[in-house]
């Protein structure tokens, strides 16, 4: 186990973009749309940087899987403070299980103390990759983390669950997926962007990582826009509101 942290990041349509389905239902419109680091992954990276700043890790490696364009997001990760970046370059979108296999191969190369990644990506909303990596790696997982304490060989993780908060203790190395309230990611400053241009960004192929089969198993047959709700009524007072609720039979 080295003292490195692997942070997996995904390039996604920016959270502020209103996503639209293509007229032929073959996908969503991505042309000319702003792309960003998945916000949950940005939180994962921020946490890794803070762990390094506390002297508990030496190297932060940002990794991603996707087309060459993902270099933009990896450069942002380097500007935020990652020491180096690795892009596993593929043209087609991959399923979470394949991503987990690629991450496992990177884990075996770098032997990190921790793998940090967002609890979900805001595009596919799958919430799978971290858990799948932990299963394949046969290591602990702590998902939906809102607090993380390290003591060298163990991590104590507070998780946001439906019933409130849960605390787990896991042996390292482990996979931790990050929730919104873990931290607030830092802003990138211009000098850091300039400096990031000189940091190493390596590109690999799945074959170089020993993952031969990356084909999708699940076929997406159709994309569609969900039905919208009919426009409602406006009322002018609490009394009118109660009357409207009574009329709808919900009181």
């Amino acid at each position: 186990m080295s003292r490195s942290i692997l942070v997996a990041i995904k390039r996604v349509i920016d959270f502020s973009v209103h996503v639209r389905v293509k007229p032929d239902g073959s996908g969503v419109v991505t042309d000319g749309v702003k792309m960003s680091i998945n916000p949950f992954d940005e939180i994962a990276l921020e946490e890794a940087l803070r762990i390094r700043e506390r002297g508990l890790a030496d190297e932060i490696i940002a990794v991603s899987v996707g087309p060459a364009d993902v270099q933009q997001q990896l450069r942002t990760a380097l500007a935020m403070g990652a020491d180096r970046a690795v892009l596993v370059q593929v043209a087609e979108p991959l399923e979470p299980l394949v991503i987990a296999r690629l991450l496992l191969a990177l884990v075996q190369r770098h032997q990190p103390l921790l793998v940090l990644l967002g609890k979900q990506a805001i595009d596919d909303d799958n919430t799978q990759t971290g858990q799948m990596l932990a299963a394949l790696w046969d290591r602990p997982q702590a998902t939906f983390a809102s607090k993380l304490e390290l003591d060298g060989t163990r991590a104590r993780v507070t998780r946001e669950i439906d019933a409130g908060l849960e605390t787990l203790e896991v042996d390292l190395p482990a996979v931790i997926t990050t929730d919104l309230r873990l931290n607030e990611p830092r802003y990138v400053r211009l000098p850091e962007i300039m400096k990031a241009r000189r940091k190493p960004l390596d590109t690999l192929t799945p074959a170089e990582l020993g993952v031969a089969d990356t084909a999708a198993v699940m076929r997406v047959l159709e994309y569609r826009t969900p039905p919208t709700r009919a426009r409602g009524v406006r009322v002018g007072s609490a009394a009118e509101l109660v009357a409207a609720l009574e009329q709808r039979g919900v009181l």
Partner: protein, 327 residues
């Protein structure tokens, strides 16, 4: 032949309502398999699970309940439960868990151990291997299809299914699995169950507050209205981030997805990430000072006004209405 396994969610000796919704989804898959039979089993893992297995056995459509008692199963640790569910999986064509934080944590680990992908947030069954699910915070729906011979592992979007009705008890079968379990993950603590108020995930009525409440104290206004209505309390991410209420009240893409009969949004602007969580509510009411707030685009009934004035009035009217109904 098809067979479906539902992994039960439970805590404190009580079966979580998410399990009855998963059973409904399993019933829909079984119907899609017809005329082939597709029996439904429920697996209950825990240290002592007798009351939970009894509750699971009373769900309509269940063939039998598997009781997997083991001291290590006391807490629902994904690393501990997943290998046991994976060991049961060869008997089944479909393995389902709820799309709650419990199922979201556990099921992908099960899928990876089985070497298959997972269908997340399954919202409709189109064939035994074709399902609809939401992406992009429910702004897009996709139909996904798996190869017919592949085992289906899925999390079920609980807001899309009604709970399975009660029926005559199914048999309960104790199982002992010889599966080695890891010791690398240990349960430390869990916040106490919030008793006394309806559960946000299953409540018929929900009153939710946003940043406009402006303080933890002001949420009392909302709690009083919720009490008058017999409603659960929810919140937007902004209100949780600001520390007005705890995280388990968050409704939306990254919080809870709910489908109450009545949802009242107070001082919530209506970011798409929040709207994701309430799309299946039958009636949405919005009270907001800002007439242009996006929440009004989805509200069935909108009231532009100061919530600090309107909410106490509304509470009084509802209490008066209840009192006259009882007299």
């Amino acid at each position: 032949m098809s067979a479906i396994l539902v992994v039960a969610e439970h805590a404190g000796g009580r079966l979580n309502p998410s399990t009855a919704k998963c059973v409904s989804c399993a019933v829909a898959i079984a119907a899609a398999c017809a005329p082939q039979a597709a029996p439904i089993d429920v697996a209950v893992l825990g240290a002592e699970v007798a009351p939970v297995t009894a509750a699971a056995a009373a769900l309509g459509g269940v063939r039998r309940v598997l009781s997997l008692e083991r001291a290590e199963n006391a807490a629902a640790l994904a690393a501990v439960w997943a290998p046991q569910i994976a060991a049961l999986a060869p008997e089944y064509t479909h393995v389902l868990g709820p799309s709650t934080t419990f199922g979201k944590d556990l099921m992908p680990r099960v899928a990876a151990l089985l070497g298959v992908g997972q269908v997340s947030d399954l919202m409709a069954v189109q064939t035994p291997h074709r399902f609809q699910r939401p992406i992009y915070a429910s702004n897009v729906l996709v139909s996904v299809e798996l190869p017919a011979q592949q085992r289906v592992v899925a999390t079920v979007r609980t807001a899309s299914f009604q709970p399975a009705p009660a029926a005559g008890p199914a048999p309960i079968e104790a199982r002992q699995l010889q599966v080695p379990l890891p010791g690398h993950t240990r349960f430390v603590a869990r916040s106490p169950v919030n008793a006394g108020r309806p559960d946000l995930q299953t409540a018929a009525r929900v009153v939710s507050g946003g940043r406009a409440l402006a303080s933890s104290d002001n949420f009392q206004l909302l709690y009083r209205l919720a009490d008058a209505l017999g409603a659960a309390v929810g919140a937007s991410r902004a209100a949780v981030d600001a520390g007005y209420v705890p995280n388990d009240l968050q409704v939306g893409q990254t919080g809870k997805i709910i489908a109450p009969e009545l949802y009242i949004a107070l001082g919530i602007s209506g970011a798409i990430q929040h709207l994701t969580g309430i799309k299946d509510a039958r009636t949405i009411v919005a009270i907001n000072k800002d007439a242009d707030a996006p929440i009004f685009e989805v509200a069935d009934i909108g009231l532009v006004g100061d919530l600090f004035q309107v909410v106490p009035e509304l509470e009084q009217l509802i209490r008066a209405r209840r009192a006259s109904a009882h007299s």
